[in-house]
């Protein structure tokens, strides 16, 4: 991997307070555990439909979420479990939604690809590639209009950079100087195809930044400190009226595109190389090296596992949604009537 520009130096990372760094670790651990559990539940046929895991991409979610204010807006893709959890949505509600239970975030009406928790600033997960970038720009415009200092953040994969909505959103955001941060999680594959095979430039997001008058930013997406620092800067810029940012985070998904994909198209050496750079392990080792006690980290891990086990059992015990709910909430009055 090459981190060509906007290097966030180790010295800069030192500025991150320990409480924040422990939070970054905790978020990554919780996401890692919860995503693995989602996979297990799928194997047990308790998670139906599809799911797109973010194993390996935890540092992006943790770094951004830790840099956001509680009232900032997150817009994510169908690969959005990690961002939803990172903003504070309970594991029970996330797993419950994956399992189609009453306790789910949307009571089973959205599913894995549409996780939404407005109470946590998660304004939806969008399953049409690129669609949410203009929507995030609109939310940013609304924040700007209302003068709330809120920032909208859209997370998307490398594949989204070749769809029109990406370009339309960036242009509008730049022209209207909107408080929005566009975060590309470049995990090197658009579904099953290497992004390099189908993109005219090397860095699918960053190399397009200049077209919209934006700074070219490529960062190590597996380093939560680097991600946090870049996100913090971008949010500060947006909040102070400086307009949009586009950040390309280099990362890697440890599993396939979706549950149906064994990811055989990836060279073994490539996978091994990236597994060595597992963001959770990397961060744990760094915290240890910086003097955080093993016991502190082990406690975070055991608490995360306990929380997850409790959430899993509660989700399994949760009833399925009432069948009437299939007919509700088409309209603001809660109903579905199209005629009198």
């Amino acid at each position: 991997m090459s981190v060509t520009q906007k290097a966030h130096s180790a010295q800069r990372n030192q500025e991150i307070p320990e409480a924040t760094r422990l939070r970054l670790f905790k978020l990554q651990v919780e996401i890692r555990y919860c995503e693995k559990r989602a996979y297990d539940l799928f194997l047990q046929n308790l998670v139906k439909g599809t799911s797109h895991l973010a194993l390996g991409q935890e540092a992006v979610a943790a770094g951004f979420a830790a840099a956001m204010n509680p009232d900032d807006y997150t817009f994510c893709t169908y690969r959005g479990h990690h961002h939803t959890l990172a903003r504070g949505a309970p594991m029970l509600s996330v797993l419950g939604e994956l399992m189609g239970r009453q306790c789910g975030l949307m009571k089973g009406k959205g599913g894995s690809m549409h996780l939404t928790s407005v109470a946590h600033g998660v304004m939806g997960s969008y399953a049409i590639v690129g669609a949410h970038l203009p929507i995030a720009a609109g939310a940013a415009w609304s924040a700007q209009y209302r003068g709330t200092k809120q920032v909208a953040c859209a997370f998307f994969g490398d594949g989204a950079t070749n769809i029109g909505a990406f370009h339309e959103a960036l242009n509008l955001a730049a022209v209207w100087k909107l408080p929005v941060v566009f975060c590309c999680e470049n995990n090197m594959y658009m579904e099953y195809t290497p992004i390099s095979a189908v993109t005219a430039v090397k860095h699918p997001a960053a190399d397009r930044a200049a077209s919209y008058g934006l700074e070219r930013q490529v960062i190590d997406g597996n380093d939560a400190d680097v991600v946090y620092s870049a996100a913090r800067d971008a949010f500060a810029k947006a909040r102070s009226g400086g307009g949009p940012s586009l950040i390309e985070c280099l990362t890697y998904r440890h599993s396939g595109h979706s549950r149906a994909d064994p990811a055989k198209y990836r060279p073994k050496e490539e996978l091994e190389e990236w597994l060595k750079r597992d963001p959770v392990t990397l961060y744990r080792n760094r915290l240890l090296a910086s003097g955080v006690a093993e016991g502190t980290l082990a406690k975070i891990e055991s608490e995360a596992m306990t929380k997850l086990d409790q959430a899993t059992e509660a989700a399994k015990a949760s009833p399925t949604p009432s069948l009437e709910s299939a007919m509700s909430d088409v309209w603001a009055d809660g109903g579905n009537a199209w005629r009198n």
Binding site: Y73, F75, L105, M106, K107, K109, G110, H114, T116, S117, V118, M123, G124, Y126, I128, A131, H132, L133, P134, I135, A136, A137, G138, A139, A140, W141, S142, A143, Y145, R146, Q150, A152, G164, A165, E168, A169, N171, L172, V175, W176, S325, S328, D329, V330, W331, A332, D333, G334, N336, A337, W338, R339, N340
Partner: protein
């Protein structure tokens, strides 16, 4: 009562709502200083300024995406898609995002916005700038679909659409824009989902929408004067919500129903109307429901050709007479 054109009534509705609600914003291609390519937003930029009345790039995805993002976070956007044909460019937002997000989020997210768009034939613009696509929108759960036929309704229904808590696709008919008629002065809001009976007759019920309404009225005059046929003419005004009560009552009263639709034949709105009628008041019908539509062809550009395919007054008269004759013959 003031005399206003349909296009001025559109601007008047937006101005009325922008004055009463700071959350209402307007944007689209050339909607600000230019006043819209159809001059339906003239004066708004001058009155409300660049913060609330904005020009966008030619980016239909960005227009509707931004409208949705703004609507779900507290604004009440009025977004213009210049020609309804261009809805095809941003159909993902119409069909997948704006229409479904309330449902998918289990009611967490509200999307109170209006998509205004110029619909319909009459301008000789050809197949990509003349379509009537209200039936596209009608097919998507989660969208309200409104198409006024008069200046008064353009103002009143658009005001109601802007106040509505759900997404509304608002079709402004290009061939009606210059029509002038009386519009109530002061605040004017017409509830969505109420059809309007414009003429009472005893022999047949003609159900029409948008530009087909004045044609149906003229046809009714001819049918009465020259053929002794007394027609009820009903303006549906909104397809969703659908005023089924009124259309069923008016259909049952005469037992002979004709729809006049500008959309192409297959899955046009009249097909759904006919389905509702035959399912619920079959016993009251004295003959088959007849759909008078644009045939299932793309719209041609030449004036003679366009006029030949879109239902005209003469064709409405002829098809009604044929429909009634075939009943007599049978």
């Amino acid at each position: 009562m003031a005399q206003l054109s349909y296009r001025d009534a559109v601007a008047a509705a937006i101005a009325q709502e922008m004055r009463r609600d700071e959350r209402v914003v307007l944007f689209g291609e050339d909607t600000a200083a230019a006043g819209g390519v159809f001059k339906t937003t003239v004066g708004l930029f001058e009155e409300f300024g660049p913060r609330r009345v904005k020009d966008t790039p030619i980016s239909e995805l960005a227009i509707l995406g931004a409208a949705m993002g703004a609507a779900m976070t507290g604004l009440r956007p009025v977004a213009e898609i210049m020609f309804s044909d261009f809805l095809a460019c941003c159909w993902d937002y119409v069909a997948n995002e704006i229409a479904k997000t309330r449902y998918m989020s289990d009611g967490q997210i509200s999307i109170p916005l209006v998509i205004r768009t110029a619909n319909g034939a009459g301008s000789r613009f050809g197949a990509q700038h003349s379509q009537s696509v209200e039936n596209w929108a009608m097919a998507i759960p989660g969208l309200k679909v409104v198409a006024p036929s008069t200046p008064a309704d353009a103002k009143g229904l658009l005001a109601a659409a802007i106040r509505d808590p759900d997404p509304v696709v608002f079709f402004e008919h290009k061939s009606l824009l210059a029509n002038k008629a009386e519009v109530p002065e002061g605040e004017h809001v017409e509830p969505l989902g109420k059809a309007k009976v414009l003429r009472e007759g005893k022999d047949i019920t003609v159900i029409a929408l948008a530009a087909m309404v004045p044609r149906a009225l003229k046809a009714a005059e001819t049918l009465a004067a020259e053929h002794g046929i007394s027609a009820t003419v009903m303006d549906l005004r909104s397809l969703v919500p659908l005023d089924a009560k009124t259309l069923l009552a008016e259909s049952a009263r005469t037992g002979r129903v004709f729809t006049v639709e500008e959309n192409p034949r297959l899955c046009g709105w009249g097909a759904e109307i006919a389905s509702v009628i035959q399912e619920e008041i079959f016993g009251a019908l004295k003959g088959p429901i007849v759909r008078i539509t644009t045939p299932h062809v793309p719209l041609p550009a030449a004036d003679q050709l366009e006029d030949a395919v879109v239902p005209s007054v003469a064709r409405i008269v002829a098809e009604v007479r044929r429909g009634l004759d075939s009943r007599r013959a049978a």
